[in-house]
């Protein structure tokens, strides 16, 4: 009984320190996932008689062995993904806000967007390779073009949901057109855009993988996608790459979370006070 009480107290003391609690939850999640993975690899080996799914310990050992190579590919992928996200954000966000807020522009541009948006950008991959050639630009362009629509559509939606009262109040206080954007449209839409950026991490990662594995003849392809692709038949090595991808995703989620805590401070205050 006393052991139970002690562990409950320990858990409570962790919860009282939000950051420690946050880290603890992630560590716990990683441990659970590794355990599930290990169990799955055991089951597969038992049923199929061969270790098709390498166990996590071997993958971690591979990660350590391949350290420098993996690290280099990690940075190549991280650079591509972040650049693509920045390009998509800086084009899609302002354009989305403009068409969401200016009704005439919306009527003109939205139909075009909704025609293009459902087409999978992968369909244009060959054309993009032909335009940009091999190398980094094409990979960044593939990811950016997919994320651009994602961000554009959610920025438009967020701009449409702004409460009229907020706009009326700044207009009555004498705001110019640009001041309405700066003081209302931009801050009001930031929380949904950051959520959309979080979704973009997963989507961007999938497109990055496609971009990095397409064009097998590309000598400069690099990145985690190409690392996984070229080690696809040596299980543990491929899984070392997959784990590195998961870490890249996690790092980006944490980065977006930190940015949100800074630029949307009022959101977190409300959470605290409620």
């Amino acid at each position: 009984m006393s052991g139970k009480r002690a562990s409950r107290q320990w858990l409570k003391s962790l919860q009282d320190r939000p950051y420690v609690w946050h880290i603890f939850r992630y560590v716990l999640a990683i441990a659970v996932l590794l355990l599930v993975w290990w169990a799955a690899s055991e089951i597969v080996e038992h049923v199929k008689g061969r270790a098709f799914l390498p166990n996590p310990l071997r993958a971690i050992a591979e990660m350590r062995r391949l350290g420098p190579t993996l690290f280099r590919n990690f940075w190549v992928s991280a650079w591509r993904l972040v650049t693509a996200m920045l390009i998509a954000f800086s084009l899609g966000y302002p354009l989305g806000l403009l068409i969401g807020h200016e009704r005439r522009l919306d009527q003109l541009i939205s139909p075009m967007i909704y025609i293009i948006y459902p087409i999978p950008q992968v369909a244009f991959i060959l054309i993009l390779f032909l335009i940009f050639g091999l190398g980094n630009p094409v990979k960044v362009a593939i990811v950016a073009s997919a994320l651009f629509f994602q961000i554009l559509v959610s920025a438009r939606g967020a701009a449409k949901q702004i409460e009229l009262e907020h706009i009326t109040s700044v207009l009555a206080a004498g705001a110019s057109r640009w001041q309405v954007y700066w003081h209302v449209v931009l801050p009001a839409t930031l929380p949904s855009i950051l959520t959309s950026l979080r979704v973009s991490v997963g989507l961007g990662m999938a497109f990055l993988y496609i971009a990095e594995t397409t064009g097998a003849f590309d000598p400069r392809r690099g990145g985690l996608g190409s690392f996984i692709d070229s080690n696809i038949y040596s299980g543990a090595q491929a899984f070392a790459g997959i784990m590195a991808m998961a870490l890249l995703g996690l790092a980006l989620y944490i980065l977006i979370e930190l940015i949100e805590r800074i630029v949307c401070r009022w959101k977190h205050v409300s959470r605290r006070s409620s």
């Binding site: 109040s169 700044v170 207009l171 009022w266 409300s270 006070s273």
Partner: protein, 243 residues
């Protein structure tokens, strides 16, 4: 002075146009208060917004201080229904919004207004951390920050509990007496109109027209609510609204 002459306001264009205000003329002298009361959605807010320069009438004219109203002006302050506070700005930034927009450094008057309204201790907080009553005070502070000569209020105390509502009505009355601005109050609360409006215009269903004007010279005393005269005015207004 506010001079509203034969104002007609329409929403939308062509066949889908909706008439919101149909030929209203009203005058408010400097330091005088006028309450506009009418059913919900009758067009009273639209009329108020046109005085604030946010809506342009189709016909007629609005003058404030002898000049035509063509857009928002510094001397015309507007208090909105839910105070119109921006959730992402602190109390201080919300209260000084007009000054921030005109790129002026918030002056000492702004600080003293916050102090006067009991908000000095919550300057750094966000609206979500405040009670409803406090939010309304921040809205008032914002309106006062530009030392306006005309104060427009659009259902400023809707959805507040009775006690908080009466406390803020008292505050409105004191501020109006001390600062001598012209006050136009839009409300659907009969007692609020009777407590704050020296003159009360009862409006019809949409499109808004003036149905009846009630003179209410007793306004100005904090204990006015307890008088027989007040009860009489409330009775007259109820009758006018129902009739």
């Amino acid at each position: 002075m506010i001079d509203i002459r034969d104002v007609i306001i329409e929403y939308g264009r062509g066949a889908r146009a909706v008439l919101a205000v149909d030929g209203i003329s009203l005058r408010v002298e400097p330091g005088e208060s006028l309450a506009l009361i009418g059913p919900s959605g009758c067009g009273k807010t639209t009329l108020l917004f046109s005085v604030a320069g946010l809506v342009r009438p189709r016909n007629g004219g609005i003058e404030v201080g002898g000049e035509n109203v063509t857009g928002p002006r510094r001397e015309i302050a507007l208090i909105l229904q839910n105070a119109g506070l921006l959730p992402w700005k602190t109390v201080w930034q919300n209260a000084n919004l007009s000054l921030l927009l005109s790129k002026e450094y918030p002056r000492k008057t702004a600080a003293s207004v916050l102090e006067e309204l009991g908000l000095a201790g919550v300057k750094g907080r966000f609206p979500v951390e405040l009670s409803e009553g406090m939010k309304r005070r921040v809205g008032i502070a914002r309106a006062l920050s530009m030392s306006p000569s005309v104060m427009l209020m659009d259902e400023p105390l809707a959805s507040l509990d009775t006690l908080t509502k009466e406390r803020i009505q008292d505050l409105f009355l004191q501020l109006w007496r001390d600062r001598a601005f012209s006050l136009v109050l839009v409300t659907h609360d009969i007692e609020e109109a009777a407590f704050l409006g020296q003159r009360i215009a009862v409006l019809t269903e949409r499109p808004a027209r003036v149905k009846r004007t009630v003179e209410n010279p007793g306004v100005g005393d904090l204990h006015y609510r307890e008088t027989a005269e007040f009860a009489g005015i409330v009775g007259q207004l109820r009758e006018a609204l129902e009739g």
